[in-house]
């Protein structure tokens, strides 16, 4: 008995020694990497701003490199992009027209993102809102305007809201992955338009061409300063959301749930209800964007009513750090780029797809530079120095 015990003891000792020697070898073999990433001390606001600006400059320079490769003068092209977006009141109006749905839906997704609910279903929510609103446009187009337009806006919000609620309900109940679920809902909504276009809502006067009838003038949103009144809604919404997120109890609850759902639970918040409420609002805002695009710009329910805006909105909201003012600025820059590039086709014969390429190159740079706000690279300390 005694013997076996002592035997065990030496066994344990031996294996311990062996382990130590292995660790020795490992430590000497696995040096600290030459370059490693470390967290950086909190930067001041001005430093962050300076870093953001310099990243934007570098991004534009990288885009310029792309233009140079095509054999054009980057300064000339950039100048013509800017002038293409601003050169006349008509051009400026067109730029703002592009900006309206982008600004509204970016504001919409920012709510969900603040809650760390990865809603990438803005595209579908825009479409759902447009579909719901189009019902009133097509079947009750002759209602008095004071009743019709609010009804359409409400329908748009409800439609988008429902499309946002569905993933929230399943997330609450079964913890269904919302990123993938909202992605699927985008395409379900898109095909709903095709279904309506080919079937129940097909325009009988289109002569076989698949489309939904043009809205009667009574439905079309009025213009103010040459641009459809959606821009007033968008601006008001930005101000409202700024107050809502910064000053209201709801906004506070959203950011607590975003930081930690269990903290929110512990503090006595009804997390499930907050998720449902916020997703309805987030989807509803995107739905309003759909209504405004259909009734204010397209004057019909087109298959391209969202046209990728829902995806771009995610990028915009993220780049703007989810702040309404930032979203306003970033969505404006995006709209300038996309309007300006449409001029390049006519002026230089450069395909309009160049706008997507340029957008991509610039975004890659900006996204990469974000890293330096919170982190920095550190070189390995020279040999002999303790770490």
């Amino acid at each position: 008995m005694k013997c076996s015990q002592s035997l065990k003891y030496t066994d344990a000792q031996q294996s311990q020694q062996a382990a130590v020697s292995i660790m020795d070898i490992k430590a000497s073999e696995r040096k600290e990497p030459l370059i490693r990433i470390v967290k950086r001390n909190e930067l001041s606001r001005t430093q962050v701003l300076a870093l953001r600006l310099s990243s934007a400059v570098m991004a534009v320079a990288a885009g310029g490199l792309f233009i140079l490769m095509l054999g054009f003068n980057p300064f000339m092209i950039y100048a013509s992009i800017v002038s293409g977006a601003f050169r006349s009141s008509v051009a400026l109006q067109a730029t703002i027209k592009i900006m309206i749905p982008l600004l509204i839906s970016s504001l919409g997704v920012s709510l969900a993102f603040k809650m760390k609910f990865w809603n990438i279903g803005a595209e579908g929510q825009i479409i759902a809102g447009a579909i719901f609103a189009s019902y009133f446009a097509l079947y009750h187009g002759l209602w008095p305007r004071q009743a019709l337009i609010p009804a359409m806006l409400a329908a748009g919000i409800v439609g988008g809201g429902i499309w946002g609620l569905i993933p929230a309900i399943f997330k609450n109940k079964f913890n269904t992955n919302e990123t993938l679920f909202t992605l699927m809902l985008n395409y379900i909504a898109l095909n709903l338009i095709v279904f309506l276009r080919d079937g129940p809502w097909a325009d009988p006067e289109s002569g076989g061409f698949p489309k939904i009838a043009r809205f009667v003038p009574n439905v079309q949103l009025p213009k103010l300063f040459g641009v459809q009144i959606g821009w007033i809604f968008a601006l008001a919404l930005a101000v409202f959301l700024h107050v809502y997120m910064k000053r209201s109890k709801h906004g506070y609850e959203i950011s607590v749930v975003g930081e930690s759902a269990s903290t929110a639970e512990y503090a006595g918040m009804n997390v499930r209800w907050i998720v449902l409420r916020t997703m309805f609002l987030s989807g509803g805002i995107c739905g309003a964007a759909g209504m405004i695009q259909a009734a204010g710009s397209d004057y019909t329910l087109a298959q391209s009513v969202a046209g990728g805006v829902g995806f771009t909105a995610i990028i915009v909201a993220w780049l703007a750090d989810l702040s309404p003012l930032g979203i306003f600025i970033v969505s404006f820059l995006f709209s300038v780029l996309s309007k300006g590039c449409s001029v390049m086709q006519s002026t230089y014969g450069i395909s309009t797809y160049s706008s997507n390429v340029l957008q991509g190159v610039i975004l890659f740079f900006v996204l990469g530079c974000e890293f330096f706000i919170r982190h920095r690279f550190a070189l390995r300390a020279p040999e002999g120095e303790a770490h």
């Binding site: 992955n177 990123t179 992605l183 706008s355 982190h375």
Partner: protein, 318 residues
């Protein structure tokens, strides 16, 4: 019978590009990266594959070019998400915008510089990439048509899926990859090199997506350049990853199911089932959404997304 046979053949042809995209994305997601740039990487592959076939006149180089282009797109994604820890969703969507834009842009650029405003891949390349014709086998009554009559992408796709399945399930490195996808901190503590393996998986996965794109631009469009040839296949592939429950082997069958969905509208007579075309186009996404919900109700760990998917790993923040 003939009708049914040609349906089977069409199903397999329609499913093949999706299979490449899906296998590529599974390899990505298993390493913990939800890459929403599949559509973009496929578009890059479509463009590079087509242009290599058109300019170099060599089928093997066309496939290689599409792989490299997809991998190059994925490399941008890997640098930004793995090293620079940028948000995966945002980078993925940007990659899609960039990839589709770059592909169409290059296509139009080549078109305006072409002799007669069309780009056509030389006959010999199309023949090499076209339907198989094995002496004796391809002429067999039924099996010949179902098994031995396809273009080489079909067989390549199945081979890639099987290899990917073996790699993830049976090899040591595959085990490490799966560990990274589930819990990168634990994998790192166990001595697995997280960042290099993530890079490897993302880049190779992107390359496989790129080959799927070449199928769309070369085979589906019959050797004539068309803009937007990928046209949403990448998103269907993202859906199929869920349908196949992150298993490349299941993705083979799954891609044919999704391929069937995409062509059913041409084969099911409207007099039997009066379903609108949009319903068939919606089916892949509807079924995927259902599967997503069912899998979450059953809370099965095996048939769900890797736990670390979508979250970047920063080793000093464990």
């Amino acid at each position: 019978m003939d009708y049914f046979l040609s349906f089977i053949a069409a199903v397999i042809l329609a499913g093949t590009p999706i299979l490449f995209g899906t296998v590529g994305e599974i390899i990505n997601e298993k390493a913990g990266n939800l890459n929403l740039g599949v559509e973009g990487m496929m578009a890059l592959g479509a463009c590079a594959g087509f242009m290599a076939g058109y300019l170099l006149g060599n089928p093997a180089l066309a496939i290689a070019a599409s792989f490299l282009a997809g991998a190059a797109g994925a490399l941008i994604y890997a640098v930004l998400t793995v090293t620079f820890m940028a948000n995966q969703t945002v980078v993925g969507l940007t990659l899609t915008i960039f990839g589709v834009g770059f592909s169409n842009f290059t296509g139009e650029y080549m078109l305006t510089h072409s002799a007669n405003n069309t780009l056509k891949i030389p006959e010999n390349v199309m023949r090499a990439l076209g339907g198989l014709n094995i002496q004796g086998l391809s002429a067999l009554p039924i099996a010949g048509k179902i098994l031995f009559s396809y273009n080489i992408f079909v067989y390549l796709g199945i081979a890639v899926a099987i290899i990917a399945g073996y790699y993830l399930k049976r090899t040591k490195i595959g085990l490490s990859v799966r560990a990274i996808g589930e819990n990168p901190a634990a994998a790192d503590a166990a001595g697995i090199k997280v960042a290099p393996l993530k890079y490897l998986n993302i880049v190779v996965g992107g390359g496989i997506c790129g080959i799927g794109g070449a199928y769309a631009s070369i085979i589906t469009c019959g050797g004539v350049w068309m803009s937007n040839s990928v046209n949403g296949l990448g998103w269907i592939a993202v859906a199929l990853v869920i349908f196949a429950s992150w298993n490349p082997i299941k993705a083979i069958l799954g891609s044919y199911v999704f391929g069937a969905f995409s062509i059913l509208k041409y084969y099911v007579p409207k007099s039997y089932i009066p379903a609108p075309n949009a319903f068939y186009d919606m089916l892949p996404f509807l079924v995927t959404a259902l599967i997503l919900v069912i899998a979450s109700i059953r809370d099965s760990k095996e048939n769900s997304q890797p736990a670390g998917c979508g979250i970047n790993y920063f080793r000093e923040e464990r």
